[in-house]
Symmetry: C2
Subunit: 485 residues, 2 copies
């Protein structure tokens, strides 16, 4: 039974997840001796603090979703490496579920919906009994570390766990690595999520004007994504930054809830991405809220866009992402030098990390079931740098076919960073402070695409956006009629 | 500095929270010996599983918000009962915060924004030092139990806690009870949130038609609330139930994500409530998606609406909420008897809990900083019943002035409940199965208002909705022009 939300939205087949499980089994067979069994625990329903409700309903944990595609909470999944069989274990629901949350479906319903080999409601001893039946010699559990935050996804807990030989180290790198390389079926969903993001960004660009508030544009973006695209969740908090706020990378949070009014002359840096069936997009559009770039905005926009395009072309299989970051920095530094803001040798500035004053974040990251998708420091990754800018790289790996990356160079005029640089003689000598003053308060520009790496030329999934200054101004010149949102 | 999101949204003054603290101090002085000090811990940022992001940003914990009105995460608050002074302790932020999340504001900024007596950034020993300076003999911490789910909000943790005499039982009932009784300033915010809810429900009613999906109407509701009302959060997951789904009380969750198409003849039972500055609304509108009630829908709607109106008039200070539940059941049972669905003595049916077959939930609950607001089983509450329907009452207290309650009688045709009742000879004798069959699949109706209890007649904050059949049909007959949402 495919997942779909409305007839105009994408159908996602359970074959996507069956294929993922097959890939996992194939890899595990190479590395694990026989009679190994994987046990995964899905996400549990959580509420605000100690209440019994939340704004949005349960969203599945991404590793579990990758393997089973299951939307319901409190499930387990078992994969038997020897037989290749997969078993889904939904919770046995309290009879009152039928009053509050809907019909209690039988095991056969889950079997048809998710196409695992078996489905059993999970009673106290169900997992233990199944593992004994499978004669499991080794139980592979997932203990996954977030390589950006260091936070840990703890291994599955179940009754009788101590009767088995437990391994919590083997599964994580294999499963995470499989998530890095996207299948055709996964790419289809990602393309859809990115398409919805592009549609919603275009709707915002067509309807924006000075006088609105940033949060109203967030609202329009979310509404377009959900109403027309069936995207109920978003991969991250919408960043609806305008004017000087565009220099704050994760603007839009509780400290700065997209609350500024849009003024004539403001640049917008809107970083928003809807999620469809748990696969997310991550797209940034930068444009002037009045539809016409100022001369200074043009200069900054063009150097960022050039960095974006250059990386897009250079980011081939075998190329290290760190090199792409440096490449983007070089273009941005050169552009700032041409604009008279910086002075001196660009390679020397690169060395001194002047680039990180203007682009303090990493060039990009993997995208998939999470906006900052897993595996950035697995494989052939170099250890995380401690240098400005580079330390925030979410991956240092060389690229491979079927990786999906966000390419998101940016150039920002962040007062805190600029003041710090100007106070440092090692850095201040590269700055033309008079010229810099002219750009202070302009905010920043980021141009972010979601790209599939291919041997014969990359695929820009977000190509369907106005991106050059000419395209943006022409596009924004045509206002939507009858906008009564 | 008032909270406001856009110039057309409500300004909320920090005086609201200063008044709350004064009320708390007054109560504590009556009950606690001198030199007692309250320490509250605000909510901490949380992310999806082990990631470093989430869909919506941090939302403050409600007890902390009630006392301090602070939107930022990871704060503490101290209230000195003797002096009446309040101290806010925001976290000392990492310098990189300025890159990612915005300017790092000084203590004076928090002082101006939240109007506490003192503000200190919270370093390792700050709380300990302050408590020693205040010569605190007793530290009152909040250990709050959710009386519906039983889940616990754990007391504040801080360095040096074991140097003090800690009390975790005194504060909870006092603080929760103060939250039950709303001040004028709180009512102003609640009225605004309810007004936005009404506006958004009306927008949905004006634009709905067969062919749309339930989730599209959720999207329109959320967009209207946020775009026009500045409501970024919602008090609970939007319930956009239509047709037979209207019999599922918490429809709209992950198992049933508002995914049905609206068909001509479907009833809608839309239970949605935006939150403004953490104060929530909780409003249900029931109406036919094609704008014209069928004869059977009229019968069910009218008996529910009569229950709603009768309770509204009868719910005076001193009246026990349990009695209001029974009153609503009586009207619903009588209506179902008049419709020929039930037969026999209404009082006997009440006794046998036949009412809970049609209204399995409680009649309503307190509303405030949470949709199911606190304190329902404090004060003069009777112990929770174990009987059908009554066991789900979220309060059994007698009403007082300034309580805000959701009055939400409903009548549903839930197959699971009906089949169970028909299989029980004690209950089945009251059913006319032939007549009942005519109503099966019709779904259900709920009419939910948010009401302030006053001595001289209650205030229906959601009075601004078309509610009679005539009003609804007339209102829905006038379609909005140019709806290109």
């Amino acid at each position: 039974m495919s997942f779909q939300l409305g007839e105009n939205t994408l159908k996602v087949t359970p074959k996507l997840f069956a294929e993922n499980r097959t890939r996992l089994i194939d890899e595990l067979r190479k590395k694990v001796s026989h009679s190994g069994v994987v046990v995964l625990e899905g996400g549990k329903e959580r509420f605000r603090y100690n209440t019994d409700f939340d704004d949005l309903p349960f969203r599945q944990e991404s590793y579990f979703f990758w393997a089973f595609g299951v939307h319901e909470s409190d499930c387990y999944g078992i994969i038997d490496i020897d037989s290749g069989k997969s078993i889904l274990l939904p919770p046995r629901l309290h009879p009152d579920f039928a009053i509050w949350s809907g019909k209690i479906e039988p095991e056969s319903w889950f079997l048809e919906k998710y196409e695992t080999d078996e489905v059993h409601f999970n009673d106290k001893d169900t997992i233990r009994d199944i593992l004994h039946r499978l004669n499991a010699q080794q139980i592979l559990l997932l203990r996954a570390e977030n390589t950006d935050s260091g936070s840990i996804l703890e291994p599955a807990e179940f009754e009788g766990k101590d009767e088995f030989n437990i391994d919590i180290t083997t599964l994580y790198p294999i499963l995470a690595e499989l998530r890095v390389i996207k299948t055709d079926l996964e790419l289809e969903v990602l393309r859809y999520a990115v398409q919805i993001a592009c549609d919603a960004h275009r709707t915002v660009m067509r309807n924006i004007q000075p006088g609105y508030y940033e949060y109203q544009m967030e609202s329009l973006f979310r509404h377009t994504s959900y109403f027309h695209g069936g995207c109920r969740y978003f991969g991250y908090t919408c960043i609806g930054a305008s004017g000087c706020n565009a220099a704050i990378l994760h603007y839009g949070n509780q400290n700065s809830p997209n609350s500024k009014k849009l003024y004539d002359g403001d640049i917008c840096c809107f970083d928003m991405g809807p999620e469809y069936n748990c696969y997310t997009s991550d797209i940034t559009c930068s444009f002037p809220c009045n539809g016409k770039f100022s001369e200074k905005q043009k200069i900054i926009y063009n150097l960022v866009y050039e960095a974006n395009q250059t990386v897009f072309k250079a980011a081939k299989p075998g190329v290290r992402w760190t090199e792409m970051h440096i490449l983007a920095e070089r273009i941005i530094l050169k552009g700032l030098k041409d604009a008279g803001i910086l002075t001196g040798d660009v390679e020397e500035m690169l060395e001194k990390r002047v680039g990180a004053v203007f682009m303090p974040h990493g060039l990009g990251h993997f995208v998939g079931l999470e906006i900052h998708d897993v595996g950035g420091y697995l494989g052939d990754a170099l250890p995380r740098s401690s240098l400005p800018g580079l330390k925030y790289l979410r991956t240092t790996r060389t690229l491979k076919e079927r990786m999906v990356v966000a390419i998101e160079p940016g150039c920002y005029f962040n007062d805190t960073l600029l003041d710090k640089a100007l106070a440092d003689p090692e850095l201040s000598k590269y700055f033309n402070n008079e010229a810099l003053k002219e750009y202070r308060g302009i905010g920043g520009v980021r141009v972010e695409d979601n790209v599939v790496i291919w041997e014969n030329g990359n695929e820009n999934m977000s190509a369907d956006l106005p991106r050059t200054i000419e395209e943006i101004e022409a596009f924004m010149g045509k206002k939507d009629d009858n906008n009564n949102f």
